[in-house]
């Protein structure tokens, strides 16, 4: 039986100078798997996810292979990819204010996802929308559904995005820094909800973050990216407990602020792996 998602030797180049943003990355996700993709800004984690989803601009050249349930989807016409997105796989982005349409009420945005992929009329979808908003932990779904994005808090907006990503019961949810813009308390609650909903749906998750601590709370496996290359991959326990590469050791060190002596010099990633090194 083939994996849910199998990425082989994925490379992405941008622009005329053909800058390599992602360099021969291979990843596998089975049903219900949760893989964290970790690295600093510019390491290629978001570009990898966008390449998998077929959402990169035309200036990008993508090579390698992306198989979804055994079927090659790299280079599929956008019309066919659009059918898969939102139905079989979906995504939650970092900035809910830009990912949501500011002119449309939250409930209608969730209903639109249903309408697009299940051909459901707007009136018919209302109960399902309210149920989904409640399921992602929004206490007053009717009020939220009838609010515009600017009338909601950051945490509420992120939950609406989560409702949109989950409403069609996808097999894979790609989350790109879904809680980075949120307060720690709100982040903890949003992560707990995400955890429950993924469990309920049995959906797999590709979770992108610069923060190993956050990833370790959601994912069973972790892949570390640096300068577009896969540095290390394994179970969360292996990678965090016994990191093999200096760069990963550096990421683990900077993520554990609460263990540092107050006022002491904090370790830096560069203390472990110099830039440009083989890491």
């Amino acid at each position: 039986m083939s994996a849910l998602l199998e990425v082989r030797d994925l490379s992405v180049r941008f622009g005329r100078h053909r800058t390599l943003a992602v360099d021969r990355v291979s990843l596998t996700l089975d049903e219900g798997d949760r893989l964290g993709l970790v690295g600093e800004s510019g390491s290629g984690k978001s570009v990898t996810a966008l390449a998998v989803l077929g959402l990169l601009p035309e200036t990008a050249t993508v090579t390698g292979s992306v198989r979804w349930q055994g079927r090659e989807i790299l280079g599929l016409p956008d019309r066919e990819l659009a059918k898969l997105r939102g139905q079989e796989f979906s995504m939650v982005f970092q900035e809910p204010m830009t990912a949501l349409d500011p002119l449309m009420k939250a409930g209608r945005q969730v209903a639109e996802v249903l309408g697009l992929h299940r051909g459901m009329a707007r009136g018919a979808s209302r109960p399902l929308v309210l149920e989904m908003l409640a399921a992602v932990g929004l206490a007053d779904p009717v009020r939220i559904a009838d609010s515009y994005p600017h009338q909601l808090s950051g945490g509420q907006r992120q939950r609406v995005l989560m409702a949109m990503a989950l409403v069609n019961r996808p097999d894979l949810v790609v989350c790109d820094e879904p809680t980075t813009a949120l307060d720690v308390t709100v982040q903890a609650r949003v992560l707990a909800t995400l955890d429950e909903r993924l469990d309920d749906a049995g959906a797999a998750c590709l979770f992108i973050s610069h923060d190993l601590a956050v990833v370790s709370q959601v994912c069973a496996r972790v892949a570390v990216l640096r300068h577009g290359r896969l540095v290390e991959q394994g179970t969360t326990a292996q990678v965090l407990g016994a990191p093999q590469r200096p760069y990963t050791r550096g990421l683990v060190a900077v993520a554990s602020l609460e263990h540092a002596e107050p006022g002491s010099r904090l370790p830096l990633v560069d203390d472990f792996a110099r830039d440009g090194g083989a890491s």
């Binding site: 308390t185 903890a188 190993l212 709370q217 993520a255 554990s256 830096l268």
Partner: protein, 267 residues
Amino acid sequence: MTTPGTEGPLFRAAGLTREFRRDGRVVRAVDGIDLEVHRGDQLGIVGESGSGKTTLIRLLAALDRPTSGQVWFNGQDVTRASSKQLATLRSQVQIVFQDPRSSLDPRMRVGEIVAEPLTSRLIRRLPDTPRDVRARVAEVLELVGLEPQMAPRHPHEFSGGQRQRIAIARALAPRPRVLIADEPVSALDVSVRAQVLNLLTDLVRQEDLTMLFVSHDLAVVRHVCDRVAVMRQGRIVEHGPLQQVWDAPSDPYTKELLAAMPRLAVT
């Protein structure tokens, strides 16, 4: 104007209240806060968005006026001071904001951005303001770990962490006594966060600064502050030495903040 006191607290707030009108309702962003900040304090102000942290520091820095209550800086009532009387406070109290992308004017060169507080009409006449602007810009750029040769460049040529260093350099230019940092590392990668926190720790020691550090993350505040005030719905719900609050929080909300901190969890 009275002689600035050197004994009493640097900042004192009494019954500080600020109300805003939103959709016809009155929202009390800051609700009757009493607070003292002494020279050399490193005070963390912690709470979630909407708890009133930013409104509180804006009132302390006299960027906003309270609905009721008072703020004294160096013994002087700043809530009723004229803009001319506020000149000393404007130069001695500097703020670093959360997002260096929006707090730095993209059309200005780094050198101009850093020099701005030195050339302002109010501050440039003060006796303590450095006279040689170019030399001071080079000096503070070096202080934050940037090359003085970078002065002619524009903010977009720098990474997020470097932009936050530029914002810190600008704040240090007029030789302030107080640095107010409003979520200075929240928009940064975890790896860049460590660099900026190390820089702030060094600067506070070297420049003998009093610091007010606003954050939603208690772990960050614990690293750079010795005292903490936990805010919720415009009020301070807990206030004390950091280690004490960290080890034995008394307010349920502080406990929730501690529990919410992302920790490395090997499952």
